[in-house]
């Protein structure tokens, strides 16, 4: 076994901070309604920086940690190839352009949002955005409930009720449910 030193096999050429910045800049700009598919395409298919298997493992790690998965992914990939500088370059590339774009849109909304028919436009947009959030919930919930009806469903309902219906502060809901949910999902080593 030569691969036991690093989880990710070394790529053909190791990208530096500049290459990482440019690559994640492209990902940030292309991700309408979900950046992850674009990140996978860039890392695995276009640049070959990660093998398919390594991508899945890295993503699983990022999903376990708090914070946006895609931001975490940029940190892991950037630091693996080019240390702290690489991590900063990757996350800067990912977030830089979207921050500027979203601020321009926000400024336009504040200035013109109440004029003429634009409130109607925003209402339509908000209703559709809520629908997207609902679809994301369904996509996440369906496979989980199918696989683990007893150990997952009660905690989905409890987290939803605590935050969505009872309006308890999020941190209390997490502290109360996380230990129980981890215990319920506990399984002997497979």
């Amino acid at each position: 076994m030569t691969a036991e030193v690093s989880a990710a096999p070394p790529p053909a050429q190791t990208p530096g901070p500049k290459a990482l910045f440019m690559a994640f800049l492209g990902v940030g700009l292309s991700g309408f309604g979900g950046v992850l598919p674009f990140a996978r395409r860039m890392l695995v298919e276009q640049r070959g920086w990660l093998a398919d298997e390594a991508f899945n493992e890295t993503l699983a790690l990022c999903q376990t940690l708090p914070g946006p998965n895609i931001v975490n992914l940029s940190i892991v990939v950037g630091s693996r190839f080019a240390g702290v500088g690489g991590a900063l370059a990757a996350v800067g590339g990912l977030l830089g352009a979207p921050v500027v774009i979203v601020l321009i849109l926000g400024a336009l909304y504040t200035r013109y949002g109440a004029i003429g028919r634009l409130p109607g436009l925003m209402m339509g947009l908000a209703a559709a955005a809520a629908g997207l959030a609902a679809a994301t919930t369904l996509k996440m919930a369906a496979p989980l409930i199918r696989r683990r009806p007893l150990s997952a469903a009660p905690f989905i309902v409890a987290a939803f009720a605590g935050v969505g219906l009872m309006h308890f502060p999020l941190i209390w809901v997490l502290l109360a449910l996380a230990p129980l949910s981890v215990a319920a999902a506990w399984r002997p080593r497979s």
Partner: protein, 177 residues
């Protein structure tokens, strides 16, 4: 200058959210709303829902909602502080976790904790969707738009941007009010 106080509040609130946002920014939408509208009165309900819609329409990760909330609360400085505060703590954690992971390899603990947190994440994302739906759907026509968008996004592979565009056009035409 009262702006300084707002910046400190933004920094603290989003830094704390960063460390509990399992599943990303969309899992903490109700909490961001509670802070921005109910506790700190930075904006109205309507503003919040509109900013969320903007964050979904623009390219980039969902974390952009924190940029917009910060901007609405305290201008450009607020936007930058909210964005950095929402990302930096979880990024630091990820940085060190990745180092440990590369060094020690896959731990059975990681998979177990991940499996335990997954249902809670789904419940939180569900609470966000519920909150956004209730806030956005002030009439039955808007509720139809939400349901139709959810159906298209769940059952088809169509780019969701088309739904947003169509809803915006219908809203602009005054059909939805």
């Amino acid at each position: 200058m009262k702006g300084g106080g707002v910046l400190v509040t933004l920094l603290i609130q989003f830094a704390m959210l960063s460390l509990v946002s399992f599943g990303g920014a969309n899992a903490v939408i109700p909490e961001i709303h509670r802070q921005a509208v109910e506790v700190n009165h930075w904006m109205t309900d309507q503003d919040f829902v509109s900013l969320f819609a903007i964050s979904q329409t623009a390219p980039g990760p969902n974390v952009m909602i924190s940029t917009l909330v910060g901007w609405k609360a305290a201008g450009l400085a607020g936007a930058l502080i909210a964005t950095v505060a929402m990302c930096a703590p979880s990024c630091l954690l990820t940085f060190f976790a990745a180092k440990a992971w590369d060094r020690f390899g896959e731990s059975p603990w990681r998979a177990r904790i991940g499996a335990g947190l997954a249902p809670i994440t789904v419940g939180l994302v569900c609470a966000s969707a519920f909150f956004l739906t209730r806030a956005a759907d002030t009439g039955w026509r808007l509720a139809i738009v939400t349901a139709a968008t959810a159906g298209v996004a769940y059952f088809t592979k169509l780019n969701p941007l088309w739904c947003l565009a169509l809803a915006a056009v219908l809203g602009f035409a005054g059909v939805l009010g």
